[in-house]
Every structure is written in structure tokens, then in C-alpha cells.
Symmetry: C2
Subunit: 297 residues, 2 copies
DNA sequence: GCTCTTCCTCTTATCGATAAAAAACAATAC
DNA sequence: GTATTGTTTTTTATCGATAAGAGGAAGAGC
């Protein structure tokens, strides 16, 4: 009763590589494929079997069949490649951020399970995982209470974020001059400048850049709890702004400029400049979030 | 297939209250009992039914039967009152901290389930919940990796703990003079002094005092993420020192004295004194933990 | 008219079963 | 022998079923 999303995704990915001629013909060995796709050999064999079945390749030699083009409908549809837990996550976040889910609402596992078309155990596991985000509370032998994506939540979140970010930024700036991270920071700076040039039509790309930047700052002196906390931030922001596109371009433009100031401050090794730049960036991120919360409510 | 631990615990508790004459005769109404025991009326009725069945009370009038003493073996044994998740937690922590569980060990859900005598879903849920403690990592479609209760872990933990504690202590000291928390702090100070007098035989009581104190410090300016983090600390320390009693009395005595210094610093409202006292206490707690890790390995 | 209880429904905790995927093992080829 | 493929075993993901527990509606008692 496990889903076969792993297989289907691997299958699609293989077709893709063939189409884009990034895959030799005949195909590499099972072990090589396994490493390339990051799945077990069991799955690779299933993929090869299916490709053979459909006449795309001859399994025995793993060579592509002439005149058998890969067609668009050879691919499995995207829904079928999405693992259950991701499916639940999406549904839940939509339910939470979109619906009229007020703080204090109680969450009914059974109802969600029916609603999302999955077994209750999937919902439970998701809720347990999600509870670390500070938005849910469990009453034993009874349900979960949704505490609301409120201003208070945002303030708690940002208080910690500022503490962690300042700490990491300081440690980053104090690194030895031959740390490889300086190099990485320069690369990231260039990526920022590139994006800034094309901000008009590439503004969506900012969020991945944002992520890379903040993770890089943490890399100088890793702490698992800080990393975990950054996972929360990433997750929350990802979904929140996915359903909240207001002013996205301006927001991202402003943040990009702030990042550049922050990056230059880091490059300068000047601690007080770093603190000012990081502080400024975070407080504007905070204002943005708070503003968007008000407009939702 | 749910366990009936809720019922059994409520039953034992009721007997207890009766024995200690803390329960009127006849017993209060179902609703009153429900509030007192913190369970649903359904459970109360089951308890009353059982008491009647066994001839301890007459259900109809809820009055105790004369000459029917409550006997020791009227109680359900303790094992049967422990909910499954707690049972799993205990077993797991023992397995982890006692056994020769080296960093990098992979965790097999099925094996643990058989070992602990529970279904795999219980184990999964526990592992998911536990993973927030930063000691496990999940490989999708494969198992969990135990990352080890190592020195590195302890250092990560304490770095965050120091940040949070200093922040909370500063905010505590800055509170207005008529905050009710000052009163609470005074009470706690007295409890510390009392314990200090009797440290020779009551040294076990320190850990609950420790908890109360640090939670109180956080109370001045609550932040859900800090609270959550303190849950981690509590949990880890609880189990770690449960299986590591070396020098317990001295350790607790020293910590008690440090607490008193810390408390006085708070009472003085002097920020720099607070920082020094809090820092001193935390660094000695850290040294203690690190030392105990070395002696284990 | 309120509280208490009886009866009933809905939800959670927990189990066991099973398909998919991983991993270990065995056989073969080069 | 080393890499590759074929086969078998083990483990995870996921479902559905069910007893325990929570909680609501409505009658019964004062």
C-alpha cells in the first residue's frame, strides 16, 4: 500500500534525461543509474522493465529502440509522482493559510483525512512533524488546536531569527581570510547583481537566492538548532508568500538591495557595519510579514 | 485497541483520594469528578461502574460501602497505567543512553517495535516527535540515523541555551517593580534556601527546582520557540541524569549555590551582575554535562 | 429552571496487514 | 577478482479496522 511515486518519478526523470540526450545510449549500468537517480537498484530495475515493456528500450542490452520517440504521454502525470506526505503538507498548508482557519480552531484528524483522501495515520504524522513550527498544540486523547498564524507568532519568530542571524553574521565576519566561504559569498554577490539587472521578469528567483544567502551565513559556524530553526523559517515563508503575492516584485527588489548592503558589510569584516546591515534587513523583512498579516485579516 | 490506561489511572487516583479521605462520601457528581480528575465523563462512569462492581461503592448513591476497605490489590499495577507513548519513550531513551548505541547507528523501526512490544506506528510517531531534539536524522524510504549524544551535540545545545537564558534573564531583570514574578522569585529563593539546609538527604529534589527556576526566568517575556527549546533541555537532562548519577549530590549542591547567586543578581536589577551570574551558572552546567559525556565514553 | 445522568455519536490511539522500496545475498560475466 | 545482473529478504509507507475515550443531546430528578 505504499505509493509508487518513487518509481514513477524515477521513470519520468529517466525519460527526461533520454530526451535531453543527457543519457548515453545504451543506458549505463544499473548501479550507475542508481547513483545518478538516487534510488535503489530495485527501483531502477522496475524503470528499465517498464521502458522495455513500452518498447522504449530493449532491456537486455539497455539500448534505445530506433524510431521509438519518447512521447509526452509516456510520462506519468505529476500528481502520481508526489509522495503522500508532500501531498498532505500541501493540502494542509492550503487549508490553513487559505481557508478561514481562525486561531483556536480545533483540528479533526478524521475529517482532514477524509477531506484529503488519505488515512488518518498520514495526517497524524504530518501534524506531529508540523507541531514543531509552533502553530499547533496537542491535547492528549483529544484533538489538536490551531494557534493561528498571528502577529504574535510572527513576533516570536523574528525575535529568535534576529538573535540567530546576528550571531551567525558576526561569526561569519570574524572568519579567517582564507575560509572558502568568502569565495562563495562573492559568487552569491554576483548572483544578486545579476538578478538585480533582470529583476523585472526574474523576481521570482529571489526566494531561492534568499535561502542560499542565509544558509551560507550559518555555514561559517554550524549549529544544528539554528539550522532547524531556519527550516521553520523557510517552510513558513515558502507557503505564506506562495499564497500572498501582493507587491512581490517590489518586496523582492527591496530585499535584494538590502542583501547587497549586508553582503558588503560582511566582506568589510567590520562587525558594527554587519550588525547594522543585518538588523536593517531583518527588520524590514519583519515589517513586510507583519503588513501582509494585517491585510489577510 | 486503544489502551485503557486513562481509565486505570483515573481509577487508581480515585481509590487514592478515598483512602486519604480527600474525597467526600458519597462521592461528588460525575461532572465534579470529571473536573477533579481531568478526564471525560465517559471515563468517570467507567470508574464508578468498576467501583460498584467491586463493591467499594454503591453506584446508585455513590456512597461508600461500609466495612469495604480499599485494599492494596484493588489498585491496577503501575505498568497498566502507563500510556503507550510514554512506554515507548522510556524504552527508547534507555536503549539510546544505556545501550552501546554509537553515533551513526541506524534505527530499525520494525526491530524496535518487536523489541518494545508495540506496533510500528507507535515507534514512527515517537521518532518523528523525538527528531526535533536534534539527535536523529531521517532518510526517506529508508531508516533513521542516530547521530549520537556527543560532545558536539552538547556544545550546540549550550550555545543556544546561553543565548536564550541571557536574553530572558535580562528581560526579567528589567521588569517593572510590581510584576508578580518578583514575588514568585522570592518564593523560589526561599525554596532554594530550604533545600540547601537539607541537601544531604533531599538532593534529588533539585531538578524540579531547577526546572521551576529556569521556566520562571522565561516567563517574564514568553516566546514559544524559547519554551520549546527549554522542553528539549528538560527532556534531555531528565533522561541523561537519570542514568548518570555520578556525583549527583555535589553537582546539585554546587548548582543550588549558583542559583542563589543568580537569583540575587536578578533581584538586584543590575544587568551586568545578572549576566555574570547567569553565565557562570550555565558554564558550570555545561562543564558538568561535558564531563559526564567523557566518562560515559 | 438547573443539575445530573443516560444514551449515543464522533474522534483518537493502536494494531496488524500489505504493496513498494531498499538492502543483502547469490550467481554470472568479463 | 571486480563489476554487473538476478533473486530473496528486510524494511518502510500506507491503509483500514476497532476499542477506548471525549463530548453532545435530551430525558430524569429535584
Amino acid at each position: 500500500m505504499k505509493t509508487d511515486t518513487v518509481f514513477k518519478k524515477a521513470f519520468n526523470r529517466t525519460l527526461d534525461l533520454m530526451v535531453r540526450s543527457e543519457m548515453e545510449d545504451p543506458l549505463p549500468s544499473e548501479n550507475a543509474l542508481r547513483r545518478r537517480l538516487g534510488v535503489s537498484r530495485t527501483t531502477i530495475r522496475k524503470v528499465l522493465g517498464e521502458l522495455d515493456q513500452r518498447g522504449v528500450i530493449v532491456a537486455a542490452t539497455r539500448s534505445q529502440v530506433q524510431d521509438r520517440q519518447v512521447l509526452p504521454n509516456d510520462y506519468f502525470p505529476d500528481v502520481e509522482t508526489m509522495p503522500r506526505n508532500l501531498h498532505i503538507e500541501r493540502h494542509f498548508m492550503e487549508w490553513m493559510l487559505r481557508g478561514d482557519t481562525k486561531p483556536g480552531t480545533s483540528i479533526n484528524e478524521l475529517e482532514l483525512a477524509r477531506h484529503f483522501g488519505v488515512a488518518t495515520s498520514g495526517i497524524r504524522e504530518f501534524l506531529i512533524r508540523f507541531s514543531r513550527f509552533g502553530l499547533l498544540e496537542k491535547r492528549p486523547n483529544s484533538g489538536w488546536i490551531f494557534e493561528g498564524f498571528t502577529e504574535e507568532f510572527a513576533l516570536d519568530l523574528f525575535e529568535i531569527r534576529v538573535m540567530f542571524e546576528l550571531r551567525s553574521a558576526r561569526l561569519f565576519a570574524k572568519q579567517s581570510d582564507h575560509s572558502p566561504l568568502w569565495e562563495k559569498l562573492e559568487t552569491l554577490k554576483r548572483a544578486h547583481l545579476d538578478l538585480l539587472e533582470e529583476i523585472d521578469y526574474r523576481f521570482h528567483d529571489f526566494s531561492s537566492l534568499d535561502n542560499r544567502f542565509h544558509r551560507l551565513v550559518n555555514e561559517a559556524s554550524p549549529n544544528r538548532f539554528i539550522d532547524d530553526f531556519y527550516d521553520i523559517i523557510t517552510f513558513i515563508f515558502h507557503y505564506h508568500y506562495q499564497w500572498n503575492k501582493r507587491d512581490e516584485k517590489q518586496r523582492n527588489h527591496a530585499a535584494l538591495v538590502e542583501h547587497l548592503g549586508y553582503i558588503d558589510a560582511l566582506l568589510s569584516h567590520d562587525l558594527s557595519r554587519v550588525e547594522v546591515a543585518a538588523g536593517a534587513h531583518l527588520s524590514s523583512a519583519k515589517e513586510t510579514l507583519l503588513r501582509s498579516l494585517v491585510t489577510i485579516a
